[in-house]
Symmetry: D2
Subunit: 383 residues, 4 copies
């Protein structure tokens, strides 16, 4: 039996219509089909990010981390960066910038909390930063940062704002233009629901104007090397810098086509509905969620705290029941929680299955849960 | 009609058994299936590179260029690098290293030629280099560098030797250990015959010992950040630094399984046979090959020089006959040649088709070719 | 959103490993791969049916109905047939035999009931029948006939016994040899979990000895025309009478390979477990099952009686919740019930999803159900 | 290496776009997607057959032989049938009707010849036949019957005309309406280029009016049992008699969509072009074709006579060169010929490959062929 439900943080469950779109045995990077798929995908990416024509879209090989590192393309030696971190992937901004000749400050929240907008405002009022880098939804804890509020408070005080939307784009409200975010980025394998292999970004005009030979960036992840390729491909012209993930682009293009059909707002509402069901199930079972308060809840990731059972055992046992979940990775909570990813092509049926398997497995592992209460709560949520 | 023959330089024609191996809608990066596929692939990669247990294999997101840039992981501020360049991708070594605080010298060959081993020897005798970076088969011209002879002459005089085997690994004899090459690298979409999305490398102990926080490398392509992940996965343990291209790894693992079945030597012989047929067809048609002499011929790429026809027209016209070829990209020959990629899952049937279509299309476009002579020569080659 | 759960009576949810096994663009019926797949499938079919080497397996184009009609291959003009019918597909035996010059008697049960073994015994004691044709699980009602007990009572009194195992083989205990059944048949799209396209049968030596030019059978469904093909293919030799569904055979062979891995007994237990959960959910919701008594319950199909809601509305509404169920087809219960198919690659996660969707949809449609009670009962069943 | 060229008589090389259309793991026969695919396919089938709205299309499980047997649906006890046979599949008409209580006469041509229209005219002038059954292209020899001329001569003298278009529909000009053919039939795996699993027919009003309980037909292949299902499905309403090959219908529908895009006339011209190239290659190599004269040539099948080599050896050897051909099956020519199928998604590239492989293999096996002449002739044909 190979059927399984994957409620992970990426790759996630992928619709087969998306997967089979990559079954192209005879298509090169100079083929019209590929150029068309890229052109459509770049155009759709703007809409997905809530950007307009003034933004330049990029689809480059790699994933979330490489997309984050490509932000170095707008930095120059000696620039100052402020990182706003709610966990592992917030900290990653710092680890990345530390490899470059720029100064990095960081504000951190406790696990389950997010950095308050006023803290960011205070910090950027004290000191002039070239770039503030944030994380919309922190994948390690499932905590959501109120991006709109932060940007409102700091927009006038900093040069550039970059948001890691890896666990938000496609599932949360994202408005690059309205929030005046300069760089919004994500990866193919998260809420877009495509295999891993591409980082996706939009850059404002201000951000684009900073691409130059003087940037601290290297070569492959240097957006200056990619910008003409993106412009050409969007206009339907073949172009090459380094090989793009051709087959993945066909899948991405299919995913975007399906998104267009569903409607972006419907898609976000679907994620909201799924997330609500997951939380209702978990809480009614008697367990706590890592995100400390409702404003911190995200549509895509729910961290679940364990009272007695061992997280590793839980992950192993749910596999035997046809469910794959994600391990907890926040060092401060090591072994005490696991994560449920609920993004991409998820629906309420996945919720009931996840909660049902968890109820049974957790009980078996000695966790104090009331079997039947979680699934009943899911039902009431959806009735 | 969507059937087409893709004779490109990557992505190439991909066997459907390989493509469908990626049809996994429900498999996360912590799943046992993925871990097993990585473990097998890493082990097989050593054999593919002619490396032994003292070499550390890496499979990282990206492609050839990112694999090349990851070589910066072994360099420190102020190191001296010698680049041996036979064309566009040789020059790329220089462009990459120029983004880092290291000194770069370059020896270049004219298009169609390769840098003579004695020239390299002379250069490294004059000056001490930390790293010599070469290209086994130059994808832009199809010229092969005699790696074994070069390494024999320079091994004792330089610290590290890196070879870009992007258009050779899986199709040419590659013996990392015997040639004492420290870093041999390739990409998934070339002679391995998998979609683009991964760079593959092996590093000698000496190269591994240079990975450190002091290297000039950035973050994502810094092999120091990946080495534990590779070791853990090879040993069958889940591990994470940044998301690996899970679906691609299933395809890679399938390709390696098929290679194992075919036998690496048989695979190389098949590439030799295919390349021989291509050249016989092209020359009997009355056209010249970019590579200037037989020792420079490669098993994987053949550049074809045009006398009258326009290269762009040729590429467009062959598409209408169900054949996709690659444009020429060497600036010195702009518009005067095109490339035939013949790697991966190619066979003599692809050769006869390619030559037959070219004969007819070239004649139509006014190129002085004898229709029928190319295909006859292919037949005599294989009889 | 195209993800959906198919709980139908055939085709059913198909594992993607099975589906992709049919992705063969270049394989003819004389290829070794096809011959090997047929050989393995024929051999495995014997085991699946609880038959031994004395039985001849057949895999022929079509489905359940064509497999039933092929039973005419053992009948001659004037033969007498007794049909034991528990519903639509029992009656189909009669409709089929009525097209041939044989006499047909029928014993029928009320919907939800099965014909008692003693009734069959009585009937065959009164009159001499060449063939008794029964249905193991009646797909229209989900009622199971106690085949073993019937055969024990009648074996000595009739020439031949044929059992339609369309909704049982692969999910219920089937022992052709032990029960001394002469013809056991099924179709690819039911509990075997393969797309529709093939009928599968095993024939005892006695049944095989009746194949002759004198039979009443036509041409295509005449097993005499197929027997040599089956014997040759099983022995690994190419053979032709009419074109077999080549691609489907690759899927069938894959399904059999997965069955072998799972173990036939485990597979039956899994179906039992799933069926138990479905019934617990339905009954706890407050609904009645068509099958009137526990001995009549099957592992594969559950008919659900509605009190107020319209069956057509239920089917339409569950689709909008990502669940596809089967309509009721028994004329005596028209519009008053629907069917849940639970065969093939089903698991408890499918059960909870099915019950959860039904609870919500039925409530919405005015059916008196207690939302939350069905899913809780499923959980308790599995805890 | 699993890449291969399949030049067989069915299944043939199948475009991957067609194959992947069947990758539906969760679609039942009552789903709207399936109903839509059937509706479109039935409508397109009329156009494919050159029929109009007065014709009733049928798509039923099975293949060519079952479609032929379903013609019994229009026959009654005592009817007289005339079979016009050019080989194995012409004879099959007789073998089928012999299983029914109807009288059968046959006119036969020698292998490589076709029955002259005047012979048929003469026969039907002598005696009154209910049905004349012919074969458009005889798959066993590749001989084409001039259907239009025959029907012109006999139309007024017989009740019904049925044409087996198994190796013609989709590749030859077929005009059911213009030729006043009552039943034109084919199978999915031939020139339509879909896996085997369905028979396709159109019936004139006259033919439909003969469907009745009085027909000699059995049950499953009795078109009376299917007609309402076809009408309902065409109108977009779910309907059931016996399970249709759901997944195959999705592929069929995709193939029809691709045909519509290509244009039926273009498709026929493509087949003509391919057939012409095959014959040019074979004849220039120095071999004879089974069809005795140009008027007998078909667009879909070419039988090739051998002088010295053994046909079985040829088939085995071409496999080792990545080419799969079909065995000869006409008993009068046993072992002396093989067949090249050239239907479906074939193109000139398949021609050159087929001829190239044959040249080399035949020479190796001692057949007197001039290597290089066949491929040169193909090139000249296409230049």
């Amino acid at each position: 039996m190979t059927r399984k439900l994957l409620m992970h943080v990426g790759p996630v469950t992928i619709d087969y219509d998306v997967l089979v779109a990559g079954l192209r045995g005879d298509t090169g990077f100079t083929s019209q089909e590929f150029i068309d798929a890229m052109s459509f995908s770049l155009k759709y990416l703007r809409r997905l990010m809530g950007a307009d024509e003034t933004y330049q879209p990029f689809i480059i090989p790699g994933g979330g981390t490489s997309a984050m590192e490509s932000v170095a393309s707008v930095l120059r030696r000696g620039d100052k960066v402020l990182v706003v971190s709610n966990g592992v992937f917030g900290d990653r901004w710092k680890a990345i910038f530390n490899r470059y000749p720029v100064a990095v400050d960081i504000i951190k929240a406790n696990p389950g909390e997010y950095v308050k907008p006023e803290e960011v405002e205070e910090k950027v009022s004290e000191e002039k930063y070239t770039l503030v880098a944030m994380t919309h939804v922190e994948t390690s804890t499932g905590v959501r940062e109120p991006i709109q509020e932060v940007t409102k408070r700091i927009r006038d005080k900093v040069d550039l704002i970059a948001v890691d939307g890896v666990s938000s784009v496609g599932a949360e409200t994202v408005k690059a233009k309205d929030y005046q975010v300069d760089i919004y980025l994500t990866a193919s394998q998260k809420a877009i629901g495509v295999p891993p292999g591409a980082g996706l970004l939009v850059l404002s005009e201000r951000a684009v104007s900073r691409l130059s030979d003087e940037s601290v960036a290297g070569y492959y992840l240097n957006l200056k090397n990619w910008i003409d390729v993106m412009r050409n491909l969007e206009e339907g012209k073949g172009s090459y810098f380094a090989t793009l993930p051709v087959h993945l682009i066909f899948m991405l293009s299919k995913a975007f086509e399906l998104m267009e059909k569903e409607g972006l707002e419907n898609r976000i509402k679907r994620h909201e509905k799924v997330a609500k069901g997951i939380r209702a199930g978990i809480e009614s079972m008697g367990l706590d969620i890592v995100a400390k308060r409702p404003e911190a809840y995200s549509n895509t990731v729910t961290g679940v705290l364990l009272k007695k059972a061992n997280a590793g055992d839980v992950l192993r046992e749910v596999i035997s029941e046809g469910l794959e979940l994600a391990p907890g990775v926040h060092p401060a909570l090591a072994g005490k929680y696991f994560r449920i990813g609920h993004m991409g092509w998820v629906n309420p049926n996945d919720v009931i299955t996840t909660i049902a398997v968890l109820e049974r497995v957790l009980k078996r592992l000695g966790e104090p849960v009331n079997v039947g209460e979680g699934v009943r709560a899911v039902q009431l949520t959806y009735s």
